[in-house]
């Protein structure tokens, strides 16, 4: 292994660490959680009804954005937005996607926590992710 010595400590070159990172990513992509998430995402992309529902919800949300930011929606507007949201999230393919996403995220959190504990830095925070993602 290509290693240089740094104050009597063996240093792993960046290329070696990056290879370990790619090996880790490859192992992670082979997990059932990752495969299920990819499959659910693909099914979601290919489901025309779900795509139309998400588009209708996003378009309405975008058109009401200024009012949403001011928390100034009328009861009718709020009801219409909620109805479009329900039509989107109640699609079976969307529910399956959210479930797969949650399970994959749970695995990633376990792995991120293991890295954070070992290196003494919060992995997600160090990579610039805030509490709101």
């Amino acid at each position: 292994m290509d290693i240089k010595v740094f104050d009597d400590i063996e240093i792993a070159p960046a290329s070696v660490v990056k290879r370990a990172a790619r090996d880790f990513a490859a192992a992670l992509s082979e997990t059932p959680q990752s495969k299920a998430f990819k499959q659910a995402a693909e099914q979601f992309r290919q489901d025309q009804s779900a795509q139309e529902a998400v588009k209708a919800f996003q378009e309405k949300q975008m058109s009401l954005r200024p009012l949403l930011m001011l928390n100034a929606l009328s009861p009718e507007q709020r009801s219409e937005l909620e109805s479009l949201q329900s039509a989107f999230v109640n699609q079976p393919v969307v529910q399956e996607y959210f479930k797969a996403q949650t399970e994959f995220a749970s695995l990633c959190q376990t792995l991120g926590d293991a890295i954070s504990e070992s290196i003494g830095l919060n992995y997600a925070a160090a990579c610039g992710v805030s509490c709101c993602g």
Partner: protein, 124 residues
Amino acid sequence: MQTVLSPQLQEAIQSLIDNLLASEAFVQYQQAHAHLGTNSEAHTLLEQLTQSQGRVRQKQASGGVNQAELDSLRLLQQRVQRTPVIMEYAQSQQGAVSFLREINSEISELLGIDFATFANHSTC
């Protein structure tokens, strides 16, 4: 519920952690952290800075911060910046963070998602 990792994934994450800890950026960070830990003067200075920042923030929120407190905070900040062991620690931490971001990019590129975003425990 505790997530059970496959032997392959356990081996891969352990290898990543071992290599990260042996990288130049993290070796420097650990050394700087150890130096800081043995320097009680630097520790006291950092504690004073944290306390002063907290007081000023609190008073700024209530609109009651005075010039003497701001001057005191600036003085502490200048002392921190003139303390090599603290600056060495801050710079090495920045180096470790930069390297970690490069590593996250490697992982994310292969996965097709931002791994750090998925690893984050969202609290809001």
